[in-house]
Subunit: 157 residues, 2 copies
DNA sequence: GACGATTGTTAGTGCAACATACAAAAAGAG
DNA sequence: CTCTTTTTGTATGTTGCACTAACAATCGTC
């Protein structure tokens, strides 16, 4: 065996570095997935004490921004399907952060709105998001942040 | 900005295009999540006929690149924990793409290697990845791709 | 009024991340 | 060399999320 690679102690800095993942390092999708994973982990870490996920915070945020929004509208903003949206809204409603109401102009739709507890939780969550964002943005200049957001937008728009 | 604005419920009448997501549009994490979602969706769409997920392809790819790698090593490369790695390896082994073997130099470890079917599937998968990447990279210049990968690496490294 | 489309809903499937616990093997300390 | 700690693989269970398929109520249109 030519490669004694069993030396995987936590402090081993992997001298091979870029060769570790070979051709994969040119795959944009791979880097997006890894970056998302890193962001996801730090987010959940930051939000353990609030017991909220990214999706849940985003939903609270968007409902606050769009009072009386219907679930379909919310799903479109978040690029989720109806079933997934249902599950998230159910969870937030069960925890008393969100209320469903009857839509006056369309009997099929329901309105979504934050409760007082929801508004309060959102305020707390926003502070945590700021902290999370500080961690994330710390590796970039302001110019780079703008550029990064612009490129990411090109992907999801 | 030609933004194909979604038709929201009539109860949110005065929202202008770019205000759709308000302050959220300055949150890097939000854009990473949306971009990841878009990439994820296109990936699964591209790979329905192969019935493979991103993770599974990555594992096949990395095992091919690192013959006899142990699950722990794989987990480190992919930034996953052991339990998650187990689940993915189990699936790939059950489908005959991967084999576990005994490690000669460490009784705790097991070696991971591709079967012939695994190698063949990986070859097919790589073609699909190339197609998927073409879709992804089509919105960027080569210079931008390099810049994007570099910035994403700063996040996950 | 009938018909097709939309909306919310339920149920079920699959993947993945995480935590916990356990056994076997290795590494380290005395 | 023992004794202890760490590492590795494994099993189990929970949670969150994405997706599909089906269904009822409602809306818009013809």
């Amino acid at each position: 065996m030519t490669r004694p690679k069993e030396i995987l102690s936590p402090t081993t800095p992997h001298v091979e570095g870029d060769d570790d993942i070979g051709e994969i390092r040119d795959i944009v999708g791979f880097h997006i997935r890894l970056a998302y994973g890193a962001v996801y982990r730090h987010f959940t870490e930051t939000f353990t004490h609030l017991d909220l996920t990214q999706k849940q915070v985003s939903v609270l945020w968007l409902v606050d921004l769009h009072p009386d929004i219907a679930q379909t509208g919310l799903a479109q903003l978040m690029r989720m399907d109806r079933a997934t949206t249902m599950a998230i809204v159910n969870r937030l409603q069960a925890r008393g952060y969100l209320v469903r109401g009857k839509s006056l102009d369309d009997g099929r739709k329901q309105t979504l709105n934050l409760t007082d507890a929801g508004r309060q939780m959102l305020a707390t969550a926003k502070d945590a998001v700021v902290e999370h964002e500080r961690w994330l943005k710390s590796r970039f200049t302001e110019k780079e942040v703008v550029s990064l957001i612009e490129m990411l937008t090109r992907i999801h728009d």
